[in-house]
Symmetry: C2
Subunit: 386 residues, 2 copies
């Protein structure tokens, strides 16, 4: 070698250095929120343009755009524009969490000549927030992104913590960046518009967060089952706030998931495998995660990490919210040898670097361990009997 030298780079904040989370009471008035609020903000920001001068591209989907509270906002656009702002309505659903959607957002922003100081706003569930943020992170090497999460999953999980992503061909979530949103506008009232499935799916992440980090939220969930299922806004507000704070604390200390952020995958290694083996879309993400939490609890108990009383309590709580707690989930029970298929899928998980499967297990509430587990122990909790 002739010579060698080194360039050192400063650490940077991609997207933003902080996310401000604003909670609002009652039905969302997006016209009020974006049109009036932004025209009233007078102070400039470091990137050159004052907030009032910044244009927006709003990205949502057909389901959200037809919500009663959202229609007046949608109707304020003519041919996709309103003043300097742009609206893009994507098809709804997980199968549109694709690179095509991401590129469609970028193309719309380019065609309308948005600048890199302009703002991408995702209004919707986790699919919309993930693809909008990924598009923003790639647009001219990074525009600002903001979210209006409309599902419980997006409010407590997808919109918080800076992970963006999309699916690609048959690969789930394999393309993405770390790129947090600047502002989250949270209207718990949106939860009243969710289907039973969507609501329960999001609630699984809330329960997971409670088990990982918050004994007080766990107690609240145990005693407020009926209020939660009937979507009483004060209980939901408390749960969302606690979840966001817990996830924020984890993301703050381990933004790029080098260590403790992995705990957030509690229930997910089992859950992702179930989603894959059942066929994408057959089980909701939340139902799969809830089932996975039950499997992780059984495994924790079998390995003598936690007491069998703790495991039984979790299984009972899962059942009370309507989740399956059997070893063989109904969505795969007619397949030949589902346990082997599930283990195979777990080994392909992107977070798994080793030949043994690495799992997140618990010693008890808010006492979590990450450990490699032998196939035989995993098979045991995937086979009928336990």
């Amino acid at each position: 070698m002739l010579s060698e030298f080194t360039i050192k780079y400063p650490a940077i904040n991609s997207g933003t250095d902080k996310t401000t989370i604003k909670f609002y009471e009652g039905q969302a008035d997006l016209l009020e929120l974006f049109k009036k609020q932004h025209s009233e903000e007078k102070t400039g920001e470091s990137c050159g343009a004052s907030l009032a001068e910044r244009r927006h591209i709003f990205v949502t989907d057909k389901t959200v755009s037809s919500l009663k509270s959202v229609i007046p906002f949608i109707n304020s656009f003519t041919n996709g524009t309103s003043g300097g702002d742009v609206l893009l309505v994507l098809e709804a659903g997980e199968k549109y969490k694709t690179m095509e959607s991401v590129l469609k957002i970028i193309k719309t922003a380019l065609d309308h000549r948005l600048a890199r100081h302009d703002v991408f706003v995702g209004i919707g569930g986790g699919v919309i927030t993930d693809v909008t943020a990924l598009a923003a992170s790639l647009f001219k090497r990074g525009a600002v992104v903001e979210f209006v999460p409309t599902t419980l999953l997006a409010m407590v999980d997808a919109a918080v913590g800076g992970k963006t992503g999309c699916d690609f061909e048959n690969y789930k979530n394999m393309i993405g960046t770390f790129y947090p949103a600047k502002t989250l506008y949270v209207f718990p009232h949106f939860l009243q518009t969710l289907s039973e499935n969507e609501f329960r799916s999001g609630f699984a992440e809330a329960l997971k967060t409670a088990l990982l980090y918050s004994p007080s939220m766990y107690e609240l969930i145990k005693k407020s089952g009926n209020d939660i299922l009937s979507r009483k806004e004060d209980v939901l507000f408390t749960i969302i706030t606690e979840c966001v704070k817990a996830k924020a604390a984890v993301a703050e200390s381990d933004f790029t998931e080098k260590n403790i952020r992995m705990q957030l995958n509690f229930g997910h290694t089992f859950g992702h495998a179930l989603e894959t083996v059942a066929g994408l879309g057959k089980v909701t993400h939340g139902d799969a995660v809830a089932w996975g939490i039950g499997r992780a609890a059984c495994l924790s108990s079998n390995l003598k990490l936690c007491t069998s009383a703790y495991k039984d309590e979790i299984l009972e709580l899962l059942s009370s919210f309507g989740w399956e707690t059997s070893a063989v989930h109904s969505s795969v029970k007619n397949l030949p040898d589902p346990a082997q298929k599930l283990i195979g899928a777990m080994k392909n998980d992107k977070k798994n670097d080793s030949s043994n499967v690495r799992l997140i297990l618990q010693r008890g509430i808010a006492d979590t361990v990450i450990t490699e587990v032998k196939d035989g122990d995993i098979l045991k909790v995937l086979s009928s009997g336990k």
Copy 2:
């Protein structure tokens, strides 16, 4: 509003916290470099796998893969694999600097089950380094990337400083991330394989760097014209080293181009406009930039920022390397009203947020200003006569 709180994120190093640049004498032996060297490195790294365990995806193009020095390396692969390593050969040229190429790289890595601690290696010019790094930055939210730059442009500019990108539909360089390479393996000997056009194109960026930052390199270039044009390796080695160090210093202090990094666009606002108006691919990037440097020098002199002697010296130097210094470049002289078209293109540049065009001009060597310029003053240096 019900309540509000804030998550703070730590600043992170995307890609890597430092780039190590290694210079090698003589013809590149990539087999030696990657196969043997990596198997000899025994120390582990923070991301889990030791270097020896890491797999590589090598990305190159048809031009580079048919270079005499590269063929043995290419031939070590069978059906695109060699041991755990993977090879992808893309078509050559600017028109393959696309999202399709980026996704092809990611798909190849996924199909071969690479993990996020594995390494993407771009072997080629600026197109290959840009798309490979963009693919790496998106793969599972970020894999390591390394470069073997094979053109002068890539050695002095594209491979240094962490900008990744691709073109999209008719938009040039509008998608990208900030994501530096971990290692640059520089073999100045590759420059002997370049066509006259490619060599001159890269040299324009070296000249730009000298004018912006290095009076000593400027003197070297003035007195070594023949040695440079005949590609004497010792002169080229000095120039590449100086350029990389200068660009590194700028990238270190302004990684995401909030202020002084903009200076690196000296000659580029004119140059990009020329490329666009002439039609992509009609003028090389370097020839366009060199012409743009001449225009910026004339404008600097007209605005009394620099002396006319400095401007004349630059124009003479540009001529001596075969670049055009006339107000109307030959590639657009047969178009109706080229000056107006060029101004229009300058106003669409992604770095331009204002209604006036913002340009990088000079008071003299290593004395640069960024300033908004009136259309009339720009038109004057784009119209024959000056």
